[in-house]
Amino acid sequence: MPSKTAIAGESVSSDFQTMKQAIVAIFPLSLAVVPWGVLCGSLAINVGLTPLQAQLMSLLIFAGAAQLAALTIMGAVGSLSSMFSSTFVISSRHLLYSAVFRDHVRKSSFGLRCSIAFFLTDEMFAVTCAYIVKNKRFSPVYALSSGITFYVIWNISTFAGIVAGQHIPNLEHLGLEFAIAATFIAIVIPLIKNKSTMVSVVTSGLSAIILSVFMKEYALIAATFIGMICGYLTKDKESINE
């Protein structure tokens, strides 16, 4: 236990504790993304990018699904506009994440808001939400530490993919998607603590399957909204008692 007189030391050590918690929480999620980083790196080399260009994609864009879609379009010599529109559709879910964190970061400095935004990924969002639920407050230290950890692992695995380059045979057919599915299952199932969350999970899952038959591109965002609205409309016992 830190002594009560050393207030400055106490807050530094509690920041350090938060940082450690964040790294421990995001680690399993970063693990699942390693094969994707490797795939992004090796695919970029196969499409004809230089190693520097390939690494810059992960350093600057930092969005696995959008990067993979863009590389596929580059490989098929698709247009810039199709690349941009697919990037937007894939990234549109991040608009929701920024809305969720809005009240927590609104009073922060421009620099801090930019940094949190840059490192805002599915995984960082998930662990930071869990932190908020548990501690009843938002922590920029937690958000940034988990985000940066994820960023570093994403870029190291991209680098590994660049080095391996064309020597990785048929990586696309190994079923790497399942790593993402396993991670998200591990995140979602513990979140189901009441009826309304259960309803939002079931409806978004069902609509994701049905919609992806008709409109592959927009299925994700449409199913998300359906799930959110159905969850919202479901009355929980706790909220009636309130």
């Binding site: 699942a32 969005a63 549109s92 969720v100 591990a186």
Partner: protein, 106 residues
């Protein structure tokens, strides 16, 4: 690949803008209790809309049958395991191992 630099710049701006949009103090948007409640379902809805198609439609891309698809079997096993064990790392490793084993044996 002259367009590459343009593509890189454009995509960087698009992904960053989506992540920053509601952090902007100039966007007039007030989070009332209703919107907050709606947004509280973001994480479960988005993540489910991502994992469910992989588990239930994964067999289409790999060309296996629905019932014997490693995506389906390992997916359901992961869901059951995550109900029993609260440790995320254990669940992820368990799910990926089951999937890898099924891939090797089928």
């Amino acid at each position: 690949m002259n367009d590459f630099w343009l593509a890189l710049l454009g995509m960087t701006c698009i992904t960053f803008s989506c992540r920053y949009f509601f952090f902007s103090t100039t966007v007039p948007f007030k989070l009332g209790p209703k919107v907050s409640r709606l947004l509280s379902y973001t994480a479960p809805s988005v993540m489910t809309a991502m994992w469910v198609p992989i588990v239930f439609l994964g067999h289409q891309e790999s060309g296996s049958d629905f019932i014997t698809s490693p995506f389906l079997i390992a997916g359901i096993a992961t869901v059951i395991f995550s109900l029993l064990i609260k440790n995320t790392l254990a669940v992820v490793i368990f799910g990926m191992s089951v999937f890898a084993l099924l891939k090797v044996f089928f």
